[in-house]
Symmetry: C2
Subunit: 424 residues, 2 copies
């Protein structure tokens, strides 16, 4: 495969600029939820240029809504399609799904950004912008890897199924729709921002909404009421205790370097309508991490139990229990064995290109991999060029060189996994 790799490497060395330009254009189309279409249009254009078999559709069919793994609070998916492009193999090889999501989380407080959140600005080898690391950099690696093979005249035996899906950040309805449309494979790679580590296991997660009651009153006689915000502070403290307790149980060595393997994140709080009134309702929303080998239902029960216990120690909560709903997003955990052939393929490719063995860890966040593996029966490895720490943060960036490095490793892994056709 050395000859092929030389061609591929040559192609990469000659195509840096167009690769960077592709990533920049993708970042500049800020594809927050409900606004994915313009970034998808760039992906579609690229797939057409590469001659992939294109499949684009607006998700939302009845089968999707009725599937037990479906969870979304989005009312309307129209105008923002899922995109799949298939590089058909000559036959006889293993198939591979290459999955990236096009949706990005909101930009947060604009004042925390040094440049506009969707600038695509490049400095010191870093390309900045919401979505650069999570995960348009990874999707760019996928497209460049495919292009490098096509441009080098290398034909694969197995099919490569490139996917650019919506809704990853909100529960994976986009990837679920690909599975229900029939897209399964012998393996899948998702280039989420792993800092070039291999993640065979992924933390699952789900969103929760906790409703805390108070009793309203005029702020000048606040002692006549019960402040739902103050009561919520007790709920948050209980969740902090629960997180501690749950993480003490995690002993998997893949989590050795991760401070909190399955965090409980308090992501939103909202209470009160009027500064002079005691608020009678507080809504807390967040994300609960689920261990790779844990059932979502079991994790749900632990939180429900935690809130029930609050009622036993606190008279207010006994009369007015804090209630949890599991709404919106759910990511199934993933749990691939570390010596699975797909792991070996990627590890060997990594070693060939980089000269060292890759780090293997467990993913600190859920990905669409849970759906591909649990619903689609497709073994998944998460491996990508982004910087984990800056995902969802202000001044999110990706190191441009890593995008190309990852793409080269993926090119080699595709050849190893799908097989190179002798016919050409």
């Amino acid at each position: 495969m050395e000859q092929e790799m030389m061609k591929v490497k040559k192609w990469f060395s000659e195509n840096k600029n167009q690769g960077i330009r592709l990533l920049q254009k993708l970042v500049q189309e800020g594809s927050v939820r409900g606004n994915e279409s313009k970034a998808q249009a760039i992906i579609i254009e690229k797939c057409r240029e590469l001659g992939l078999e294109l499949d684009m559709w607006e998700i939302g069919e009845e089968k999707l809504y009725n599937h037990p793994a479906f969870c979304s609070d989005r009312k309307d998916f129209s105008g923002n399609p899922n995109v799949v492009g298939v590089l058909r193999g000559t036959g006889g090889g293993k198939s591979l799904i290459l999955n990236g999501h096009i949706d990005v989380v909101p930009e947060g407080d604009k004042e925390d950004w040094n440049n506009s959140p969707f600038s695509g600005y490049i400095e010191d080898g870093k390309l900045y912008g919401r979505g650069s690391t999570d995960m348009k950099g990874g999707s760019t690696s996928l497209l460049l890897a495919i292009e490098s093979l096509i441009a080098s005249g290398i034909q694969l035996k197995g099919d490569v199924i490139f996917q650019s899906v919506i809704e990853e950040e909100s529960g994976g309805a986009g990837t679920l729709a690909t599975v229900l449309r029939g897209y399964k494979a012998d393996g899948a790679i998702i280039p989420e921002p792993t800092n070039m580590k291999l993640f065979p296991k992924q933390q699952g997660s789900m969103w929760f909404r906790i409703t805390v009651k108070g009793k309203s009153a005029h702020g000048g006689t606040r002692y006549e009421g019960v402040n739902a915000i103050e009561k919520s502070m007790l709920v948050i403290q209980a969740l902090q205790e629960l997180e501690k307790m749950r993480n003490e149980k995690i002993t998997d060595p893949l989590y050795e370097h991760i401070p909190i393997p399955i965090p409980i994140n308090i992501g939103k709080i909202s209470s009160g309508e009027w500064p002079s009134s005691v608020p009678d309702l507080c809504i807390i929303e967040g994300r609960m991490g689920v261990a790779p080998n844990e059932a979502l239902k079991d994790a749900e029960k632990e939180m429900e139990n935690c809130l029930r216990l609050l009622g036993e120690s606190n008279a207010w909560f006994k009369e007015h229990p804090a209630k949890v709903e599991w709404f919106g997003a759910k990511w199934l955990p993933g749990d691939l064995e570390s010596d699975h052939p797909l792991m070996t393929t990627i590890s060997e490719s990594y070693q060939t290109i980089k000269g060292v063995t890759p780090k293997i860890e467990a993913s600190p966040w859920g990905t669409d991999g849970g759906i591909l593996s649990n619903v689609g029966d497709t073994p998944v490895v998460v491996f990508g060029p982004g910087v984990t720490e800056v995902a969802h943060d202000a001044n999110e960036y990706i190191e441009v060189d890593k995008v190309f490095e990852c793409a080269e490793i993926l090119s080699l892994a595709m050849m190893k996994w799908c097989g190179v056709s002798e016919t050409k």
Copy 2:
């Protein structure tokens, strides 16, 4: 004055139903901020029927905006007028302002209400609905008191200036506009819900907004970020300590029966855009009580100092100080001597009608009285029929009998204060 009082009492005994109907109609027009016009239309109709000299205007003149006591975040006052109706005296008597606000606070969580929040439903002598106690019941007492004198053919020497103002709940721009339009008097009564107690002193208050910074990150690696909600919990704890410290300094015996004379109310909290992200910004809004003899500026300084101290004990706040703004509403405190002639007049009238002396306390909340006294040089007593405890709460109600009892006391007080003309 016994003969006049007999006529007045007779009128009240014959006019219960129309009085209740007036209050019910006022409550049913839910005059939350920006929607005061329909309730004002009922007031205007009543003033016309009584033959008062009507003055209606949309506030918002330059003089108002430029006044140091003006504070409002409302952009547009058009369509929701202030209303003043003057019952002109024959001359030679003291003048009296009767001030009520037409605006009501939002209804809160509708599910906490047994009936619709603006039902005006009556059961067991209580009339329910947002604004019934705060303070359409009081305004109804004012109108009934005026009507009882007119209907009984009693003419006063001094002018009675009835006012139905907007914006009391948001900082008093409505009452400030009446003062700037020239309405001042020898005394003023504001029938806010005092449970029929007399309040010569009123707590001042002002709204604050505190901005707390965090550092965003993906919720799955929440340890890479700093949660603005968790940091806000420390700010709220500091405010609780500040409240305790400030109230320990209050020794005025008029506050003897009030658990927290000058409370700090946390009225709103808002943080986060996404359950799976660590929020980087949290906004807390609330109301700070100000002692009758305290300057607003001094109270502001105490809170600013409290937040500064947080920075001395906490590394995060040292780098990212919690910042306070004083926005929207401010109510000046009021501080009338307990033996002021207006106090005596109302106390004596109370004793005549009820046979016992009234309770005298300090108001646990700010009223427009601070503006009338501080800006308008008009001595103010707050005295009204509503139930303090249910103001701003779900299932707010007023005891209908108290509305009439208060009205009778006010009728007598008006005769005593303004003097009864012999000419008729």
